[in-house]
Symmetry: D2
Subunit: 157 residues, 4 copies
């Protein structure tokens, strides 16, 4: 059975408003824009994390990451001027990679519009080769989000 | 083992050129734009199909389809002014849905930049509810692309 | 002498944050995106106006407008993650057309990034031909923005 | 009297096809995308110029330019899947700046959709300050486009 996500599983939320140019010839948000909404969620999630890091006295994380996978399941339409809630969490962390999960819902109705996920790989800033994630990163994610799963390298994901 | 796609598996190809606004703050094509490139492939694939339909004397297909899923695996960077080959095929057809598969490669080098897929559902133009695909559609796809797989409703996909 | 705009001339302001895909191959906001930022200003200006209309008991304005002209003067760069202030006002109203003016400034520094304007024409919703603006529209703009200029049809603009 | 442009005044033309995501909530090309179409014209104009430069044995021009002004006059709508002709020319060259002019027309009908222009300034690659344009640039533009006007610094433009 597929794992069904619910907003209750998420601690981080940002709101965006659908703009005229994000709506396509069928008068609904173009499918590609959901990847952009999800990225807004990721940056604000990370911003939030860093500020909590700063509150603990540690420095910004200095991550350089590549997106290696993105997927979206479209459940309903979003329309011009809709306010959308973008929920973001980190579902799992492995040695050098981690996975964002998202729900996008229509704010006015609570209708789920889409779910999605993205897998990112931490790389060495100079060589661009995969590199073990800093422990500080994992620690700050775990501190923020109790449900994150730590996967060993041998696990498949 | 994962199914590895190769350009040799595809009959349909379109070329696009990367534009300045498609490149992001890291000077590579933004991840969301690959869904747009894939859609160019889908429309040109369908245009190509319809013209062969017209050659057989039949009318345009009148499909109304919804995208219900998209995914992209990012393998390498594409940069400003790169010419990219977008390969498109229909991998399978079910009762009311079908699946596009894509390879995106850098034209100059033949390097594979990304692979992706999208699942679309045929709907009734008035009710927006899933509806059996016209046989003409399946026939024209099969005539164009020998490798398309016809799935029964009971198969999982 | 050219008329120099200043934020002090504006009553309406919205904030936006620059996103990764809005930055181009030169790592600055792509020139086309300023038209999008200006449009955010226009919609929020109009939303603000309508709510004040509603407070007066009148109905939404039912305007159908076409953009017939846009221009931007670029003064400085905006970069990823910058918060920008979009100032919007209606500079003049004629029989069937009116003109938005904008300043875009970097919130953190107050540096002026761009100025711009757009001319819109009110049209009949059915024929799409220019049509006299409702007096309610002019009245609500004047009530909000003391400096708007009413131009007669004979004036050139 | 306003100067009316005609395709006959232009030597350079590129074709683009309107894509689904370029069409907005009103089912016409979003006003911001015309700046993108014009930029496609500019890059292809410049590419064309450089190849003629190369044919003369000279090196690429090494220009670093900033866009300081853009404007568009919208005359008619462009719709999804329209093929558009983007005409581009350099109208004038001054000491450190030059001006592109454009016509955008619907290919199938020859209807004029928009006209536009952009002013660009040549800058020193290190200091980003305005710098005299290379003579090779002016020469190659004049060789390509007989009608380009050379303006002295004192002329207003």
């Amino acid at each position: 059975m597929k794992n069904i996500l619910s907003p209750a599983d998420f601690r981080h939320k940002v709101e965006i408003r659908v703009r005229t140019w994000e709506v396509d010839w069928e008068r609904v948000v173009h499918n590609s824009n959901f990847l952009r909404y999800m990225e807004i969620g990721r940056f604000e999630y990370k911003r939030n994390l860093e500020s909590s890091l700063n509150a603990c006295g540690s420095s910004p994380d200095g991550l350089k990451v590549f997106v290696v996978h993105n997927s979206v399941d479209y459940l309903a339409f979003a329309k011009f001027d809709d306010v959308l809630n973008i929920y973001t969490r980190i579902a799992w962390i492995k040695n050098s990679s981690f996975c964002f999960e998202h729900i996008i819902e229509q704010s006015a109705t609570g209708n789920m519009i889409a779910t999605g996920k993205g897998i990112l790989v931490n790389v060495n800033p100079l060589t661009n080769l995969p590199e073990k994630l800093h422990e500080k990163f994992s620690e700050s994610v775990i501190a923020y989000d109790k449900n994150v799963v730590l996967l060993s390298d041998k696990s498949k994901a």
